[in-house]
């Protein structure tokens, strides 16, 4: 449906987007995950038509959108601070897009009612948006975008201004609504929990490039780079040197925190520097062992985060004692 082809954009000499390409399929939700300044919002605005790219194109169902102004694209957009019209009531906010399409009055009120029902705001029609709570405003913004049944929905950090409990609740509702309506959507956030919850597919943006993409599970199990592993906080990042190769084609790697045996894709030679990811969870059958003296133990609901003197950390079911020396088998993988 949506195809983004080789988009590039720079602003004041800085490259915001660097040759971005991806596609979005019918009914799919993808999430652009990245730190602030990674270019994810810019990308969204280009797709919405609010900004233009320096090169590359965006097309929908094979139609190039470059020359189509935002109001004719029929893409819904939900902003971080909602951008509700302060001078209009809840009803008029939600009806706005329908009125722009010059639909008959009864059809408008029907669609508004449907949209408000979908976001659990039945009976809010006459309220002023300025007197709503943050969560309610967010629902109105969602209803407003949904009411026109756009062919694509876009969310720009839509839950960023809400507190944690509210965010989780709304996120699940949003997930339900997206499944129910089958509107393809793009969700931009810097919060990985949000991204993994909502997305069918996650795209991680860094310095204007897509550095990793796949389903949440794929991204989690194959981060592919030190940056992604670090950004997602997947485990201990260890730099090591290749010192040998065993019969199965696995490499022996020496590092300041011990020697490991890992499977690395691609060509490697003795003496190469490689980056390893040591997951923090104990894995019984793994050949690699993390060892060290415990410096601190932090309680985390269902587990204990155990810090070692060599800056490594582990998640254990039972607390260790500070000063104790421990050895734990973990999964270690090669990132480069």
């Amino acid at each position: 449906m949506l195809a983004v082809n080789h988009l590039s954009k720079s602003y004041e000499g800085r490259l915001l987007l660097d040759d971005i390409s991806f596609t979005l399929d019918a009914g799919e939700t993808i999430c652009l995950l990245g730190a602030s300044g990674s270019g994810k919002s810019t990308l969204l605005r280009i797709i919405a038509g609010l900004e233009s790219a320096d090169s590359g194109s965006v097309s929908f169902d094979g139609v190039d959108l470059t020359s189509i102004p935002p109001h004719l694209r029929d893409f819904g957009l939900v902003f971080q601070d909602y951008a509700l019209f302060p001078h209009l009531s809840v009803y008029d906010n939600v009806a706005f897009g329908l009125k722009m399409r010059r639909l008959p009055q009864d059809q408008i009120s029907q669609s508004v009612a449907n949209a408000l029902e979908m976001v659990n705001l039945v009976g809010f029609d006459k309220r002023q948006v300025t007197e709503l709570s943050g969560g309610e405003q967010q629902r109105v913004a969602l209803a407003r975008a949904l009411a026109t049944r756009p062919r694509l929905l876009m969310f720009d950090e839509p839950l960023g201004a809400l507190d944690r409990a509210l965010r989780e609740g709304l996120l699940h509702e949003l997930r339900m609504i997206l499944h129910q309506t089958q509107i393809p959507s793009i969700y931009v956030t810097h919060d990985q929990e949000e991204a993994f919850t909502i997305a069918d597919r996650v795209l991680i943006l860094h310095d204007g490039k897509i550095v990793c993409q796949g389903t949440p599970a794929e991204v989690w199990s194959h981060p592919g780079s030190t940056f992604v592993a670090g950004f997602l906080g997947l485990g201990n990042l260890i730099k090591g040197e290749i010192i040998g190769k065993d019969g199965d084609g696995d490499w022996s790697v020496a590092s300041s925190t011990g020697d490991f045996t890992v499977h690395c894709g691609g060509e490697h030679q003795m003496g190469d520097i490689v980056h390893l990811l040591a997951r923090p969870l104990p894995a019984e059958s793994e050949p690699n062992i993390l060892r060290g003296t415990v410096t601190d133990v932090i309680f985390q609901q269902d587990r204990f985060k155990v810090l070692l003197e060599n800056d490594l950390y582990l998640y254990l079911q039972k607390p260790a004692r500070v000063g104790e020396r421990i050895e734990v088998p973990v999964k270690v993988e090669c990132l480069s």
Binding site: G49, E51, H71, L72, D81, A145
Partner: protein, 569 residues
């Protein structure tokens, strides 16, 4: 990044012209055509004429220079004295409002702000009705007799009455934005009340106090109506002397010289003021006001609060009350009236306004002045909105052009009304026959206020609202009609009422350029006040009351429409 601009600048996207004109950088020039031509013809050219006259050979005579020096000295003297007295009343008042909660607080605060918006002639008439020789105190209590009108005291009192609101607003805001924890911290570190003030509160408030001081000084320095009406020509400040040298004892080159001195002084103070304002806005962070405000508890606090409240009520309420009261009460004989005088309640002063008497100060029934004023005010509203809107649109999205034009368009604020009048006379002499000139002068005075009321409203519409509307299918024209326009409605009303009020009360420029047969309310009041006889005085009171009521209604409307944080000085 400014995405709105991005959208518009991309030439691949066709847009209706009305919106692209106001958004795109280059087409800003179109927006500036009207306002700039207006300023060029009615401000900069007249200014140039005054400047040219200043540098003519017969300006710099010893006599002129001596006189100018003398006038300047007195102007600074009275302004400094007025400012000092205003601070004396304003600083405790600011503290009272910022720190204490008491009954009738919001009413009292409104009462102290009203004078600032009142036309000078109303304030002058109010003090005349209160303390003047024909005023309430002296007429009702014959045992008490003192000179008030025609003294320096009258000028000073009226200035304090006028400008205390500035100190309360600026310093009060600074006090309530002070973090109360700072005070607590200082106390916990061993500072007593005096030291807390000396080392913590006062240093933090210094920029605000300085800003208020400079602004009050500026207003006292350029004050005209109050000095002319309450002080008389004996107390010639720069403004009054310019007026005298244009109309009464013509010496235009001296008038021009005084204008230039005046302009130089106001610019100096304005520059100092903007410097201080920049510093003070960096220093104070917004904080919840609630934590700072409390009811008076100790006996000392209670005495301060109730005593000071009483003082403020007396000072601000009595002149405002005396004026309408005096307009309904006959306290002296009418001119030429013989025999028994009927003292007491009367509506004669109002009915007389509709009568065209031979030998009266006008050629027309005085009520004409009200009709003229309303007409001029209406024209001023239309004209200043017509010019203010495009300028505000351009300024709301400032580019390089706007950086230069912004101070330029505010310049008429720094030049006095009397000076604008002189400029008009010098440059547009033959046009003076036309009463149409008055609304142009009023527009010149009102335009900066209109722009300042509109611009923040336009700029405050988040670009995201327009984008959200666009993403919902609104074309640029529909965005303008459905988003910009409804949101701006309140700001436009505020701006219109501002222009209306300013025009109604404008005195200095009107006095110089209005034709005798087309008086405005303030001009009529001035003429009535300068005539002997109870009937004339009563009519002055009646007209001033009408003007006061009109202004009060306008103030109420402005407060009702105003978006928070806009249209402040």
């Amino acid at each position: 990044m400014d995405s709105g601009k991005q959208v518009i600048q991309s030439n691949r996207i066709p847009l209706s012209t009305s919106v692209s004109v106001y958004l795109s950088g280059r087409r800003h020039i179109i927006l500036w055509v009207l306002p700039l031509s207006f300023l060029l013809i009615f401000f900069f050219y007249p200014l140039f004429r005054i400047l040219a006259l200043t540098f003519s050979p017969d300006t710099f005579t010893t006599e002129n220079l001596l006189q100018a020096g003398q006038v300047l000295l007195f102007t600074v003297y009275q302004a400094a004295l007025s400012t000092l007295l205003t601070l004396l009343l304003g600083l405790p008042a600011a503290y009272l409002f910022a720190r204490y909660d008491f009954r009738g607080k919001s009413l009292l605060r409104a009462l102290t702000i009203v004078p600032f918006m009142l036309p000078t002639v109303v304030v002058a008439a109010g003090f005349s009705a209160f303390l003047g020789p024909r005023g309430l105190v002296q007429e009702l209590l014959p045992a008490i007799s003192f000179n008030f009108i025609g003294t320096l005291t009258a000028i000073l009192v009226a200035h304090v009455f006028y400008n205390t609101a500035i100190v309360i607003r600026i310093v009060g805001n600074a006090i309530s934005s002070l973090d109360p924890r700072l005070e607590a911290a200082a106390r916990s570190l061993g500072a007593d009340t005096l030291r807390v003030w000396r080392y913590v509160i006062f240093p933090l408030l210094r920029p605000a106090i300085l800003a208020a001081t400079l602004l009050v000084f500026l207003f006292d320095f350029t004050s005209f109506g109050v000095i002319l009406l309450l002080g008389g020509s004996r107390f010639a400040t720069l403004e009054v002397e310019i007026y005298l040298r244009v109309l009464k004892l013509p010496n235009l080159s001296l008038a021009a010289l005084l204008c230039m001195i005046q302009l130089a002084c106001t610019m100096l103070v304005s520059v100092l003021y903007s410097g201080v304002v920049v510093r003070s806005t960096i220093q104070t962070a917004p904080r919840s006001e609630a934590s700072n405000i409390r009811s008076p508890k100790s006996l000392r606090e209670k005495i301060f609060v109730s005593g000071f409240t009483l003082l403020l009520v007396t000072f601000f309420f009595l002149p405002l009350f005396a004026l309408p009261f005096r307009s309904f009460f006959r306290l002296e004989a009418d001119r030429g009236q013989r025999g028994e005088v009927q003292y007491g309640f009367t509506t004669d002063y109002y009915t007389e306004l509709f009568v065209n008497r031979t030998g009266s100060v006008f050629y027309v029934p005085p009520i004409r002045a009200t009709i003229n004023s309303l007409g001029y005010a209406g024209m001023t509203v239309v004209l200043s909105l017509l010019l203010g809107f495009p300028a505000a649109l351009a300024l709301a999205k400032p580019g390089r052009l706007e950086k230069i034009l912004d101070p330029l368009i505010m310049l008429p604020l720094g030049s006095s009304a009397v000076m604008l009048g002189l400029g008009f006379i010098l440059s547009l002499g033959t046009w003076l026959i036309s009463p149409w000139l008055v609304p142009f002068a009023h527009t010149l005075v009102a335009l900066p206020f209109v722009i300042r009321a509109l611009q923040p409203a336009i700029a405050s519409i988040p670009e995201r609202l327009r984008q959200a509307a666009a993403s919902l299918g609104a074309s640029p024209l529909e965005v303008w009609r459905n988003i910009d326009l409804p949101i701006l409605r309140r700001a436009t009303l505020t701006a219109a009422v501002f222009a209306f009020t300013i025009s109604l009360g404008e005195f200095g420029a009107t006095l110089l350029i209005s034709r005798p047969e087309y008086p405005t309310i303030p001009v009529a009041i001035e003429r009535f006040l300068s005539q002997p006889g109870g009937l004339n005085y009563g009519q002055a009171m009646a007209m001033a009351t009408v003007l006061m009521v009109l202004t009060l209604i306008s103030i109420l409307l402005i407060e009702k429409f105003r978006l928070p944080g806009t249209g402040e000085f």
